[in-house]
């Protein structure tokens, strides 16, 4: 049984990995300048925040939840931090308040799902609109918030280099590593797998299921805040409309594409990395080919659909997965 699930998970990841490698080879052969160290760094850098958000989403999805507020938190808490800084609040205080905003949303999400027992899909969908609406109404009057000169001290978060590597990539590596260690080696991490696999069984065997669920949403919210500050400092502004954009689908996509099933209990951070890299290779290659943006969307969706179709052909759904359903 366990062996079966493991082989299932590995195959989906493998398919996506093979697609990514195939694309990588094709681009390396046919596109001048694709296979240079500079371009590869740019490639990973371009999807680093997407990958970081993916790690946050993965922690929730493995526990059989979903966090649709993650992009709203990412945009709005970082926007508030910049806005506070431009109002003259000191940088550490602005960072702290922005983080507390993210944390509060995470706790509310967790409590709504674990204690009020609202399905994660509806709770976080509602919270996403609430977070955007509330912050725009009460905290940040402007649609695009610029980074004030007083925040130059934290510009390195998204725009710096350490040993020649851009900081967003290092943050992605660090958060992926921490996420991996948390899920693999801590007791709570193992509980998340247990809850995702079988909530009732985990509860009967004594796992603190409700606090663990709250913790998942707190973690995803905190990770979203870090990602938000990376973006905000990298482009010296935060566009609050990102909260309403299709970024949330991209985040779910890198998680699911990499092989973390929405039915929970399987997959890991490695899957997120594979999914993120596939998207990164696609975007980078199409930009080099100077493909227009509408056509880019078509090509991207076709390749992603192909990967999913291939997976369902190789791993047909059996009675058990069908009954369990997705989400």
């Amino acid at each position: 049984m366990l062996g079966r699930i493991r082989s299932l998970a590995v195959s989906q990841e493998k398919i996506v990995l093979l697609t990514a490698i195939a694309l990588f080879c094709v681009f390396s052969i046919f596109l001048n300048g694709f296979l240079t160290s500079g371009n590869l760094v740019t490639l990973v850098r371009g999807v680093a925040t997407l990958g970081i958000l993916g790690v946050g989403m993965a922690i929730v999805v493995i526990g059989r939840g979903v966090d649709l507020t993650i992009v709203a938190i990412y945009a709005m808490s970082a926007a508030w931090t910049l806005h506070l800084a431009s109002l003259g609040v000191s940088i550490p205080a602005a960072l702290l308040l922005g983080f507390l905003l993210a944390l509060t949303v995470g706790v509310i999400n967790g409590v709504l799902i674990a204690y009020v027992e609202i399905p994660a899909l509806f709770a976080t969908l509602g919270m996403a609109s609430l977070v955007y609406g509330f912050v725009r109404f009460a905290l940040v009057p402007l649609y695009v918030v610029y980074m004030p000169p007083s925040a130059n001290d934290i510009a390195w978060i998204g725009g710096g280099f350490v040993w020649g590597a851009p900081t967003p990539i290092l943050f992605f590596a660090l958060i992926a590593l921490l996420g991996f260690a948390f899920l693999r080696f801590t007791k709570v991490g193992r509980f998340i797998y247990a809850i995702g696999d079988n909530f009732a069984a985990a509860r009967i065997s004594g796992a603190p299921v409700r606090p663990t669920i709250v913790l998942q949403y707190v973690l995803s919210a905190s990770i979203a805040y870090v990602a938000g500050m990376i973006t905000a400092t990298a482009v010296a502004s935060m566009n609050t409309n990102v909260a309403n954009s299709s970024l949330i689908y991209d985040v779910i996509l890198v998680v699911v594409l990499g092989g973390i099933g929405l039915s929970g209990g399987r997959g890991g951070i490695r899957n997120v990395i594979v999914g993120t890299l596939l998207i990164g290779i696609l975007l980078n290659g199409m930009t080099i080919m100077n493909i227009q943006y509408t056509l880019q969307n078509v090509i991207r969706s076709l390749i992603l659909l192909a990967a999913i179709v291939l997976d369902s052909l190789i791993n047909p759904r059996d009675e058990q997965t069908a009954q369990q359903g997705d989400i």
Partner: protein, 333 residues
């Protein structure tokens, strides 16, 4: 002789006092004044922007609000938050509510075209601001996009002429918008006359700084000798500026936008080399004048067909001075 002089002097003095007394007693009424105020009292202006909360729309709305308050009109804002569907719904319900003037900021050339025609048929004056649709309504107030595109292209040619690689990237926002199609035409107009300029990339950043960042950094990797970037909106081009700064290369960036303080700040610190701006406050003034004109003229909606292009303002290190830009956050206070 002397008597006559005195008489004349006395007569002059009397005449003077008489005139003064007369002038103090009754001023001259302006016969058109009452009609002027009557033309506006109680009228309603509806504004459907692409979204509120950006420098452009906040600026126009604040200028329109001032005139509306002064003349006893009502300004109603329906904010569709960047959704063309929500905007179309707002216009549809406004057609039923029948405001006197509808000011529309189109997301693209197609979405609202038929609705605007219906609005004018229903007796509503339609004024389009900055982004036009395929339908020519009473008035278009806004940037001359082709001219701005030409200005931007000229700005980049000044930096990327002889002695450079001549390689230029164009970063559009949304190719289907009224502004982008115009700017692109302007850029093409100028580049065709300059064969030394090579357009190595022409991509769209969807008005998003993050996407602009990753596109421009990829283009720089691909063309290490890139000389310049023509960007289509300053808010998005902050991402392009960050990518150029990270590359450490002296790549020129010419952009366009609403001339908000952010533009002056970024020109001052060298992130933008030049911005071809359309001044939002002046556009608001033009909007006000055209609102007044359509209401005062008494012409039936759809018969005026006027175009008011905003003059270009060039923001560069040479033209920079305090007060050149306006501040969106000041409006909020």
């Amino acid at each position: 002789m002397r008597k006559r002089n005195i008489a004349a002097a006395l007569g002059f003095v009397f005449a003077l006092t008489g005139m003064t007394v007369h002038a103090m007693a009754d001023g001259i009424d302006d016969p058109r004044r009452a009609d002027y105020f009557k033309a506006f009292a109680g009228k309603t202006i509806a504004f459907v922007p692409v979204t509120m909360g950006i420098d452009l729309t906040e600026g126009w709305a604040s200028v329109m609000k001032k005139q509306a308050d002064r003349l006893g009109m009502k300004l109603e804002i329906r904010d569709p938050h960047f959704s063309a569907d929500a905007g179309a719904q707002a216009i549809t319900s406004l057609i039923a509510e029948k405001p006197d003037v509808l000011v529309v900021h189109n997301p693209d050339v197609q979405s609202y075209a038929r609705l605007l025609k219906r609005a004018e048929e229903a007796g509503i004056h339609v004024i389009q601001i900055n982004m036009r649709s395929n339908y020519n309504s009473d008035v278009y107030v806004g940037a001359d996009w082709i001219g701005i595109g030409e200005g931007e292209a000229q700005g980049i040619i000044d930096k990327c002429g002889a002695g450079t690689s001549g390689k230029v990237a164009v970063l559009q926002g949304q190719p289907t918008s009224g502004s982008d199609s115009g700017m692109m035409k302007g850029v093409e107009n100028v580049f065709t006359k300059h064969p030394e300029i090579k357009m190595v990339a022409n991509l769209a950043g969807e008005w998003d700084a993050t996407k602009a960042h990753s596109i421009v950094s990829t283009v720089i990797q691909q063309n290490p000798d890139l000389c310049g970037v023509v960007g289509f909106w300053d808010v998005m081009d902050l991402g392009a500026a960050a990518a150029i700064k990270e590359s450490g290369k002296p790549i020129a960036l010419v952009t366009s936008g609403g001339g908000e303080q952010m533009a002056c700040d970024n020109v001052a610190k060298g992130a933008f080399d030049k911005e071809i701006a359309y001044q939002v406050m002046d556009q608001g003034r033009d909007l006000n004048d055209m609102i007044a004109t359509v209401l005062e003229s008494g012409l039936p909606p759809g018969s005026l067909k006027a175009v008011v292009y905003s003059p270009q303002l060039i923001i560069s290190k040479e033209t920079l001075r305090p007060g050149l830009c306006w501040s969106a956050s000041e409006l909020k206070k």
